[in-house]
Amino acid sequence: MMSSSSDAAAALELQESGWEELRREARKLEGDLDVKLSSYARLAARSSSSASGAASPTADRSSWKSMEFEIQSLLGKLQDVNDAMSRCAASSATTTSVSQKLARHRDILHEFTQEFRRTRGNLSSMREHADLLNSVRDDITESRASGGMSPRVHLLRERASIHGSINQIDEVIGQAQSTRVALNNQRAMFGDIQGKVKQLGEKFPVIRGLLGAIKRKKSKDTIILSAVIAACTIFLIIYWLSK
């Protein structure tokens, strides 16, 4: 008994120490990920500002790629640590604080994954945009025409904003169309419901007849029961008098 209880205590302590080590490692990885994601976002902002001028795209691209790989490997490690923590928690008796900590770590991993995916999407679309519009001839043309562009640039910007507004209006109109169709369907449905209610009202005579039949049957039962009781009572009185 004593040896088995000490073995159980040792196993429990082992599990607890493993759990604490895993938690420490998870927190460390989360800190690293936070720092790397911040610098990744800063790199994206810098490349966005430098995308207008095509300055040294190759070096920027290689640093993008290496940082992407680093973040992806860190996310993979954090996923593994979370899985190990889940297994550790499942093997021992789960307390509430342990499950809450697990949920917290899982939420953090999910959040980081979403943020990384969003930033990477932004970066890749910016890069594609720059690739599409970049060429040697464009550089020459741009350097030539760099002088008197000021009023035209303002007009182009205004035109772009107007076009953006028009696109948004188109989307809103599409949504309004969809809502209108749904409301029309609802009105048709309510019309059907009204028709059904009228049909139900027409069936009221049948229901009234049914209720009448039930009432008659109930009163018939009452009469039969009363007759039986009266007959028994009279029989008892006659028997008592004859004795």
């Binding site: 509430t96 949920a103 599409l132 464009d138 182009l156 188109d170 169709v181 369907n185």
Partner: protein, 289 residues
Amino acid sequence: MGDHEGHGVDFEKKADQKLSGWGLFGNKYEEAADLLDRAGSFFKLAKNWSRAAAVYKKIADCHLQGDNKHDAASAYVEAANCYKKFSLQDAAQALNSAVNLFQEISRLNMAARYSKDIGEIYLQEQDLENAAVYLNRAADLFDSEGQSSQANSMTQKIAEIYAQLEKYQKATELFEEIARKSINNNLLKYGVRGTLLNAGICQLCRGDVVAINNSLERYQDIDPTFSGTREYKLLADLAASTDEGDVGKFTDAVKEFDSMTRLDPWKTTLLLKAKNELKKKEEDEDDLT
């Protein structure tokens, strides 16, 4: 806070006892489902999403045993809501079960809506093949219920996905179909030129110059005002530069259009592919000479 988890576990145990017991009085599946529903609520309050999702799947099984498909489908939807917190794949599978059940009981509107949700989940997960399958299903269901606006927006997304999967012919056909439907609607016809531009870009990615020129003529038939728009000018210039094999002219045309109207990421990606194809062809010709 700890009470919620404990209460959930208790209700789950009671439900298990009810299920394993004899169903002499009343329907044991209904009663077990009620108990499991309360357990699920407590697990949600405790933020134990995996446990809550498992409980809701149990509820769905109970309702299926009791031959109550609508409640089973609703339970699958609840399970999917819990799965969305930590596992999008499982959420998609649960919604798929719900969609199948809604179709069995002829609730096509609900099936369409949740099929659309599945498609959007796969889009988040960058699984374009599965996203296209489910959005296609949603578009068909919306169309069969007479919701053409919803079906059109689904078709638009499907066409964009096909273009990303390099199925340009199918994407082109879908965009043209959307344009034909929209041109008859007084409110939506002003957006038709954007749709036709998308269709033209897909044709450019196929690299068939004769098909591009035929498409441009067909688009003028669809929308008589298209020939006067900047979208038409862009497509015509790109077709000409593709015919001549001139990358510089291609880039100039795109740059001019982009200076007026900034291209969205989808168009940027496809035009970049077309440009790279053109550049490769040009280099091949140089090698031949």
